[in-house]
Amino acid sequence: MRTWSPSELTAYFWTQINSGILVRPVCRSCGANFFSPQVLCPSCQSDSWEYEESSGHGYIYSFTEIHRPPDSSFPSPLIVADIELDEGWRMFSWIVGCRSEDVRIGSRVYVTFEDFDAGTLPVFKIN
């Protein structure tokens, strides 16, 4: 698996992940949720935003089952999904704990946390 290096902008996200909490930027000025973290809110360009805890609930906008991961350290097959969180933001993640036949576009999911050699990752399970 690839290791990653958080920036000043994203360090808090990963610190919280290590504590089992999923957070996302919320704009203090316009209320927009956004992801990935940016210096300014992409909706109103305000620099007044803070990380807030997410419910961790959402649905699968789309997914693809990867049968040839980039290297052998990844599990295979791997269900990569574009998750729409209920607060109105999106992130890439994995669907775990089920067979691909049980995954549908639109399936409700919730976040859980798994430890890998490269670090702790937020992953999702079908409700």
Binding site: S62, I66, H67, L121
Partner: protein, 384 residues
């Protein structure tokens, strides 16, 4: 609005799975082939659009200026656009049309980087919210295509026929990396290993080595060149979001290219069905189908049926990716998009050999795609 610009030289090196060259040496080989084709030498060149691949040089922008030292010349115009191919050609055409330079070269490629089993680095974007999930470029396209599949349920056999047709063109082309590999039936495509849903191995483009180059000058000066000048009749780009960072969504990028197509056809005074040769960015099979829909040849969701009814082979209604495309001919990374310009020029000149579409006078070229969240297109035509 129109460009006062024509392609007067093209160059293409050998294309292969790996080449014993450097990025720089293979790129210069293609450049020299194109200059010879144009009846020019490096002293004639005063504009350049070519990503500097290193090693050496500087991290200062524009990196393209690093070419000045190794080529021993200076420039009036540099285009640092990425990638080359359509955006590079359009920028160069604009620079030539406005007099910022008289002769512009667009070139690039890769070599010595894809040895045994090495993945092409550009297919694995390095971002902390992408890389940990094992995503690669084909998977970004898969996320979009799966929504299309869910909504429109395209016939898998007909979709596989798209890949088979393009690959079978490459199988007959001695210059293609996959020359002699084929012919393929639709079931060969569908039965090849599943890489990431809905894409099987043979749905996906190559990662290969080689380089290509084009020389562009004004229409007036093009008359002095030895080969038939090929005019740049129109072109446009759409830059939706940075590629391969945040998840691309079908509902946001399904129609990516629609505006660029309309503007491009408008500039050229042509309609989508009046093109003789279609050199579409076939990064995967489905993206070809999406472009037929976005171009306006058929409705959303009807692309596989439309292609099945009309055909995209050399002698059918919509000859597409005549050289074998990115699926079978070659895909050389940042320089890959330029390969399609070279094939389009050869088609219009009537020098495309076994790939030649009889009487071709116009060619449509596209680059990038929905999963990349940007798109570009141009139309080239015979100068008569």
């Amino acid at each position: 609005m129109s460009f006062n610009a024509a392609v007067v030289g093209v160059g293409m090196t050998k294309q292969a799975k790996s080449l014993d060259h450097s990025n720089i040496s293979i790129s210069i080989e293609a450049l020299n082939l194109a200059l010879t084709d144009a009846g020019m030498d490096i002293e004639d060149v005063d504009g350049i659009c070519a990503r500097w691949p290193g090693p050496g040089g500087t991290t200062f922008d524009p990196g393209v200026v690093d070419w000045s030292g190794i080529l021993g010349t200076s420039f009036r115009w540099v285009g640092d656009t990425y990638p080359q191919g359509v955006p590079g050609v359009l920028d160069a055409a604009a620079a030539v049309s406005t007099g910022l330079c008289e002769v512009a070269v667009v070139f690039g490629g890769q070599a010595g980087v894809l040895g045994e089993g090495n993945l092409a680095g550009y297919t694995r974007p390095d971002n902390e919210f992408v890389a940990p999930w094992g995503l690669f470029t084909a998977a970004h396209f898969g996320l979009i295509a799966n929504v299309y599949f869910e909504r429109f349920r395209p016939d898998r056999d007909k979709l596989s026929q798209v890949a088979a047709t393009i690959r079978n063109a490459g199988a007959k082309n001695p210059d293609a990396v996959m020359y002699g590999r084929g012919p393929y039936s639709p079931s060969d495509i569908t039965n090849s290993p599943l890489i990431c849903e809905p894409f099987h191995l043979l749905d996906l483009c190559l990662a290969t080595e080689g380089a290509s180059a084009v020389v562009i000058t004004s229409i007036e000066r093009s008359q002095d060149c030895p080969k038939l000048p090929v005019r740049i009749l129109g072109g446009s780009s759409e830059w939706h979001r940075q590629q391969y960072v945040d998840p691309p969504r079908y509902d946001e990028v399904a129609s990516l290219g629609k505006d660029a197509f309309q503007r491009t056809f408008g500039m050229a005074g042509l309609s989508p069905d009046e093109i003789d040769v279609y050199e579409l960015y076939d990064i995967n099979t489905w993206e070809v189908v999406r472009q037929f829909e976005t171009m306006g040849l058929c409705e959303e969701g009807e692309g596989t049926d439309f292609i099945h009814e009309n055909g995209i082979g050399k002698d059918q209604n919509f000859p597409t990716n005549t050289d074998g495309g990115l699926l079978s001919f070659s895909h050389t990374g940042w320089g890959g998009p330029t390969l399609k310009i070279v094939e389009a020029v050869r088609q219009i000149r009537g020098t495309a050999g076994c790939s030649q579409v009889a009487g071709a006078e116009t060619a449509l070229i596209t680059g990038a795609g929905s999963g990349a969240q940007y798109f570009n297109t141009a139309i080239l035509g015979a100068s008569r």
